[in-house]
Structure formats: structure tokens, C-alpha cells
Amino acid sequence: MTESILSVAGLSRFFRVGGFRSRGILHATDEVTFEVGAGEIVALVGESGSGKSTIARVLAGLYPPSAGSITFEGQPIGRRSSRRVRGRMPMVFQDPFGSINPVLRVGHSLERSLKLHRSDLNASARHEEAISLVERVGLTPGAEVLRRFPHELSGGQRQRLGFAQALASRPSLILADEPVSMLDVSIRIGLLNVMKDLRDREGVSLLYITHDLASARYVADRMIVLYAGRIVEEGLTEEVISSPQHPYTRLLMSTAPDPRLPLSDDASVTDLGEPPKVINPGPGCRFAPRCPLAMDQCRASTPAPVSLSPTQRVACYAVTA
């Protein structure tokens, strides 16, 4: 990893749930620590309820953290992060149909971002820059795309536009929250390639949030696997894919559908994929109720991440014992 541009330490975000007198505390993310280097794609992989989107939303300043600290480009990020900071770390959302204003032309929305974040540009320079932005994400011819309305674009094109909009503020890190999950399988790959291009050509880092292990492998340099708000395993992508250590990572690997693999016959037969309990969780490892390797120790306390190599870490008593 090169120098880190984002470092997150002990980040937690809790939500109170239930009625007025309820004592329910939902642990959406719990003591999450990780770093993102310059020019690197890091994948946050997990199922629904794993806290991956909450992390992105805390980073984007949509929720304040309950505990922990965030350092971005050497500066701590507080409750009131400035427009400059947000511009350096924009977010691309999951739903390309809900995240673009439908009554404004594409060019209007894009030039508005430029007006807010790039006060050095005059009107004609903004227009030129907007054309260049949409062409950099593969929407050509740029001038014509800018004249269109969002409904004239397909889902894949809209999501590319989401990335163009993120690029408008000259970011160093883009938070991409499930950017391809609502798209057809056949056009997902084009968008994943856009993400790789942004890293290679523009030197932007990306935090790619996904539930799809195969697409994470395709784009990401490093991978962080989350379960029930905690990091269970992290490492270089190929390291994690070729030797997954945590039983949860292995379960994810064995259930990822792949016509090229024979059907695996293991935990996926009996595991129903029920989501974990994150409201007032007990002291133990949160995967223990589903884990084939669970021991008494696992139910009594949460395992801390242990380094297996300079890059790979895993939080599991059974693996590190």
C-alpha cells in the first residue's frame, strides 16, 4: 500500500431502535479500523446488515459516528466537514434512478456541481469541463449527452453519470455504494471497468462497497470482509480469494454462484443465510451462531484481528489458535 489517504480508527455507529422506552441499540458498525491508500481500490464486502453502507454514510458525513476517528488527507474529519472535504470524497449511490434530478438536463446538474466545487472556472470553461467529465466515464459524444434528460439514459449510463458527477470536484477518494447492484449483469462489467480506469488514469482511490465477491475481486486491490458490523478478514484481493481464512469468508466463497465451478457441497447446504443479530448483541463473535467451527471461547468474547501476513488479517479464534 502506498501512503494512506483515509484512515479510520475504531469507528462505531449505533442506532436506537424500537419505541420510546426501548433499550434496543443496533450496532450497525462496531470498532471498524482500516486504511485506504492513494490510487487504490478497496472493496468492503458484506451481506445486507453487515454495516458496509453505514461506513460509507459516516465517511460521507451523512451520519456522525458514535465513536472512533476518521483522518482524511492528514486532517481529522469532525461533525462539520467542509464542502472542500466532501468534494474530495464524494459518494456514488446505489440507485441510478433516484439519485439524479429527473427534471433537469444532465448538463445542468453536472455544471452545478462544477459551479459549487470549481469556482476557478468561468461558464464556458465549465461547459468544456462537463464535456470532458462525461467523456472520461465513457459517455460520448459528451456535448450531446449533456443536452439529454436523465430519462433518456439507460441505468448503466446514469450510473456512469454518477461517477462523472463525483469526478467534478476533483476527488482523491470516491465512495461507491453498491454502484452496480441495480444494473443488469451484462452492463455491470462496463461500469467496473470505468472504476478501474478512474484509478489507473486519474489516480483516484475508490472504496467499493458490494455484496458481490466476484466483482470485488475483479476491481479491488484489497478486500475487507464485514460481518454484522465488524471486520472479520482483510487482505490483498488475491490473498483473500486464494486462501480465505475466516469461516464466513469461506461461506461467501462457496455460495458465490459461478457456472464454471462445480456445485459445492458444504455449509451452504444447511446455512439459510439468515441475517445476524445486531440489536444488543452479546459479547461473543457475531458469526458464532452460524459458524461450523464455533467453540466456547467464541461465544464468550469477540476475537481481535490477528495478522497472518504483512497484509492479511483475520478475526477468528479457530483460525488463529
Partner: protein
């Protein structure tokens, strides 16, 4: 034994301000008893519309403009609503895409299951209660959840409850419209496993629509690839996966990254599906095809069967000129 379902030359139009859009264009196939047929394609290719047409559930602005749907010897397209009602649930049932929206949020699971029984059988209450508990157990849900409301169940459980409901009256055919697309991978795999096991036990046929062909790769007997309202390729699932013949099937296979082997760059399929109001002359896939020839732009290819493997492509079945 004859086929359970025979669809012949099915055509469905959507009424649009620009004129009729042909969403399903002359689809024909047979489904044997106990068979699992998967239909894959991009959004807008007409796959869900086709299922709705088969189940006779189309509503304005969609309407069936041609073709027959012979189910168990009866042409469903000629039946009155009352006659259709007698076939629904008993003979065929439909599992909708999003279980979150398909279940009534104000009724318990048990009450919704019982509703189906009351509408379609003359069972007494004791029998109904017993059968409802039985089907929930079949899909690995504790019968205690008969009293639960949909919001108390996880997404996977709701989807399984929908499948339980579809199996209540032991239909011969279960039609599934993307039942796994809202689920996490582990829940998805578990659901597919259960469908497979139940099908082996109960012997019903499955018609399964999805945009993600990797989901069905290990479970379906045959696979139909749909594009712009037409079947482009149809064959045994293994054969289509191992050696896709149509360039579109090829593109779909190459569109999803794998966890296996060395990492490699993928390209996907460039371009967008054609307009269905003014479809291009010739092959509908020609504008996006990487191996397009002159014939493709002028002559519409037919779906030609060769020993159980049908392909609609001039490349595979060249045009014969007299």
C-alpha cells in the same frame, strides 16, 4: 407422456404513445413434466412479460396479440376468468419478484396461506392449519411463524414463505419471476437448493426467469436466452454454458467476473437493446453483435432446432440462397 406446457408463437404488445411495442415476439417452447426451464436475458427483454402472458395475468397496457398457451391439454388463452381461477394455485402458481411487496403486510403469514386454501379448496379449518404448517416446514420455516407478520421475517424467509404458498395445493407448475434478486448470496444459494430438493420430492415443473444466469447454472435442466422479445438460444443448461453458440449468449457468459482462475479483463456487451416499437430489420441483435454479417442486417433469422439445441443466428445456420 405429453408436455405439461406448450407455448406456441406467443406475442405480446405494449401500447405506447409511439405505437405498439412488441415485448414478446413469437416465443415457442415446451416444458416437460418435472422439468426446470430457466429464461435469462437483460431487463426489457420481455422475460417477465412472457411469464405474465403464460399465467394470463397481463393487464393494460400489455395485451396478448397472438399465440397459444397449452397447459396440461387446455389452452389457457381461451378460458374465462372464472375457469382460470380454478386452475390458479391448484394447477399452476406464480412466485413474484419481490416478496416484500407480494405479501400483505397487514395479515399474518398463516392467514394468507389459509386464504389460498379457502378460495381454492373445501378443506376444513383443521386440515388447512395442518397443511399450512406442513408447507412452512418444507421451506425450513418454523411453523410458529404462522402467527408472524411479514415485517417480522427476514427477506430470505419472506421469499421462502412465498414459495411455501405456491406449493400449498401441490401445483404441477411453479412460475418464478426473479425470486432471488433481492436476496444475499448465501440466502440465494440456500433458496435455489430448496427449490431443487422440493422439485425432486414433489415433481413439479419450474419456469424460472432471471437476469443473472449464474444463479441457475447448477439448477436448471434447460436454458433459454431471450433478447428483445425473442428466444435467441435454447438448449440444455450445461451445453449452453459450456459452448454458447449465439454471440449474445457468448457476451452474457463473458459479462460476469469469476472467483476462479487468473484475473482477466472483461468487456461485457456494448450498446443498448433495440427499440421495440421500430425494431431494426434483420436480426435484432445485429447492432450490438461483434460478428455481424451483411445478411444479419436485412434478413430476420429463424430459431432453428438442431438435435435439441435451438439457435437464432445466421452465423450458426447460414442463409441458404436458391
Amino acid at each position: 407422456m405429453s408436455d405439461l406446457l406448450s407455448v406456441r408463437d406467443l406475442r405480446v404488445d405494449y401500447e405506447t404513445p409511439a405505437g405498439p411495442a412488441r415485448a414478446v415476439n413469437g416465443v415457442s417452447f415446451d416444458l416437460a413434466r418435472g422439468e426446470f426451464l430457466a429464461i435469462v436475458g437483460e431487463s426489457g427483454c420481455g422475460k417477465s412479460t412472457m411469464l405474465f402472458a403464460i399465467a394470463q395475468l397481463l393487464a393494460y397496457p400489455a395485451s396478448q396479440v397472438g399465440g397459444t398457451v397449452i397447459f396440461d391439454g387446455v389452452d389457457l388463452t381461451t378460458l374465462t376468468p372464472e375457469e382460470l381461477r380454478r386452475h390458479r394455485w391448484r394447477d399452476f402458481s406464480v412466485v413474484m419478484q419481490s416478496a416484500m411487496n407480494a405479501l400483505n403486510p397487514t395479515m399474518s403469514i398463516g392467514a394468507q396461506l389459509a386464504d389460498v386454501c379457502r378460495a381454492h379448496t373445501d378443506w376444513d379449518d383443521a386440515h388447512i392449519a395442518q397443511r399450512c404448517a406442513e408447507v412452512l416446514a418444507m421451506v425450513s420455516i418454523d411453523p410458529a411463524h404462522l402467527k408472524s407478520y411479514p415485517f417480522q421475517l427476514s427477506g430470505g424467509m419472506r421469499q421462502r414463505a412465498m414459495i411455501a404458498m405456491a406449493l400449498l395445493l401441490e401445483p404441477k407448475l411453479v412460475i418464478m419471476d426473479e425470486p432471488t434478486s433481492a436476496l444475499d448470496v448465501v440466502a440465494q444459494r440456500s433458496l435455489m437448493r430448496q427449490v431443487q430438493t422440493l422439485r425432486e420430492q414433489l415433481g413439479f415443473s419450474v419456469l424460472f426467469v432471471t437476469h443473472d444466469m449464474s444463479v441457475v447454472s447448477h439448477f436448471s435442466d434447460r436454458l433459454a436466452v431471450m433478447y428483445a422479445g425473442e428466444v435467441m438460444e435454447l438448449g440444455s443448461t450445461r451445453a449452453v454454458f459450456d459452448s454458447p453458440q449465439h454471440p449474445y449468449s457468448h457476451g452474457l457468459m463473458d459479462a460476469f467476473p469469476s472467483l476462479l482462475g487468473a484475473p482477466r479483463a472483461l468487456t461485457g456487451i456494448a450498446g443498448n437493446p433495440p427499440s421495440l416499437v421500430n425494431p431494426p430489420e434483420g436480426c435484432l441483435f445485429a447492432p450490438r453483435c461483434t460478428q455481424v454479417m451483411d445478411d444479419c442486417r436485412t434478413l430476420h433469422p429463424e430459431l432453428i432446432d438442431d438435435d435439441g439445441r435451438s439457435v437464432r443466428c445466421h452465423l450458426i445456420h447460414p442463409v441458404v440462397r436458391r
